[in-house]
């Protein structure tokens, strides 16, 4: 009892209110989850702290995940909030090594929201789900007074079947020194596409979100190799957050090569203008994989056969140097640490 109060007071002393940074996927989010939610909800399944919860039931394992979507604007180049709601949850399941089966979707809709916009979103969702071969089997709808939510918020939860052989994938417990790190394409597209679409900063850019379901891509990779040690999708907080979370507290270190990272021109330009680091910008169609060295090329070849993997590259490796830390060799041969961002990136003048 006393321990609970102590920890809650510790949280209280830091922040009286929740800040936008708490939802950005960086360190603040991390602290909120571990010190508040995970603390109070604690159980052995939650302690896995992976994209999907892995639950043993009878002789099989289920992967179970949930995600909420509040993106603004709701329509952006490359997709809309509906596509995100389907792809995002499917991706959380597939990066755990599971085969997605069923989704639920819940809508919170602001009074006055145009019906045709809702219809377009729902049609997108149906299309995405069909393409991915999964069924939306249950849902909920709430409408709130004008001003009580921003147009529409969507929650989706998903269940998938997880083969025993893939259980280690979400935790990365089989990662070894020498393993290679692969990403399936360019970074920063989704975050900057949404930011450009918001046009609050009067910057217009030709950037398309990379939002896509990755189940077929990842299926190919799993067929190409049984030595995939780890997968995670690089959503909020970007590649940098996945890498810094992966290495934290571990005996191994990570070495990344900046010159292997692909950043599209539009993303680059906008990041330069605003002072953003593409490593920390959100993606919605990117998976980071750790693969045994000997299978890395096979996995790469398998990924490249797909539209969503045509630019797949090896971007780094697991090393026995600098344990618990991820170092980036910069494009000019220097070195810096990849750390978790504390909050969200903000446009700066310096």
């Amino acid at each position: 009892m006393q321990l609970t109060i102590f920890i809650t007071d510790k949280m209280k002393n830091k922040f009286d209110t929740i800040l936008l940074g708490h939802g950005s996927g960086g360190k603040l989010s991390h602290d909120l989850i571990s010190e508040l939610f995970a603390h109070h909800f604690d159980n052995e399944i939650l302690r896995q702290q992976s994209d999907s919860a892995i639950i043993k039931t009878g002789n099989t394992h289920l992967a179970y995940t949930t995600d909420s979507f509040v993106v603004d604007p709701i329509f952006f180049p490359g997709g809309d909030i509906g596509k995100l709601a389907i792809a995002g949850t499917i991706n959380d399941l597939v990066v755990s090594g599971a085969t997605p089966q069923y989704l639920s979707v819940g809508f919170i809709i602001e009074e006055g929201f145009p019906f045709k916009d809702l219809e377009q979103i729902v049609i997108t969702m149906a299309k995405e789900a069909k393409k991915a071969g999964i069924k939306i089997v249950t849902g909920d709808t709430k409408v709130v007074d004008r001003g009580k939510c921003d147009k529409v918020f969507i929650n989706s939860s998903g269940i998938g079947l997880l083969d025993d052989r893939n259980i280690h994938i979400s935790s990365g417990s089989n990662i070894q020194v020498g393993d290679k790190i692969i990403i399936n394409g360019s970074i920063g597209d989704h975050g900057m596409a949404v930011m450009a679409a918001r046009n609050e900063l009067n910057i217009s850019a030709d950037i398309t979100s990379d939002c896509a379901c990755l189940n077929n891509l990842i299926q190919s990779a799993l067929e190409a190799s049984d030595q995939i040690r780890f997968m995670r999708d690089a959503t909020r907080g970007g590649l940098g957050t996945v890498i810094s979370e992966l290495v934290k507290g571990k005996k191994y270190g990570i070495h990344l090569q900046e010159d292997q990272l692909i950043v599209n021109d539009g993303v680059r330009g906008m990041c330069e203008l605003l002072g953003f680091d593409p490593i920390y910008v959100a993606n919605e169609g990117k998976v980071v994989m750790v693969v045994a060295d000997k299978d890395a090329q096979d996995v790469l070849d398998a990924l490249k056969k797909h539209e969503t993997g045509k630019n797949a590259t090896i971007i780094g490796e697991i090393t026995n140097e600098h344990s618990g830390m991820a170092w980036l060799e910069t494009m000019v041969g220097g070195k810096r640490i990849i750390e978790m961002l504390s909050g969200q990136q903000l446009p700066r003048i310096c």
Binding site: I203, D265, G266, G269, E272, L273, G275, R348, I349
Partner: protein, 89 residues
């Protein structure tokens, strides 16, 4: 204090320039360069919504040329070193 990026002027409308960096474009005010001759195709440094200085293309080309020469001189010396196992300088 100085986040500012060279951007190419693609269009000028009165005292506003449409500038591009890569494929992102931004409208920047040209008020702070009212005393300069600024035209489409010029590169300017933009900072907080204003073009603050025009890039001197000649100076840029000159300095880049020097660096490139420095690089190729070194590359030549590397080749020479490999071939003769000596380095003159």
């Amino acid at each position: 204090m100085c986040l500012s990026i060279p951007a190419r002027i693609d269009k000028i409308e009165n005292d506003t320039a449409v500038c591009t960096v890569g494929t992102s474009s931004y409208n920047a005010s040209l008020e702070l360069l009212a005393h300069e001759d600024v035209s489409v195709g010029d590169y300017v440094l933009i900072h907080t919504g204003f073009a603050i200085q025009k890039l001197d293309a000649e100076e840029a080309e000159a300095s880049l040329k020097t660096f490139k020469e420095f690089k190729s001189l070194n590359e030549d010396m590397d080749i020479e070193e490999k071939e003769q196992s000596t380095r003159l300088i």
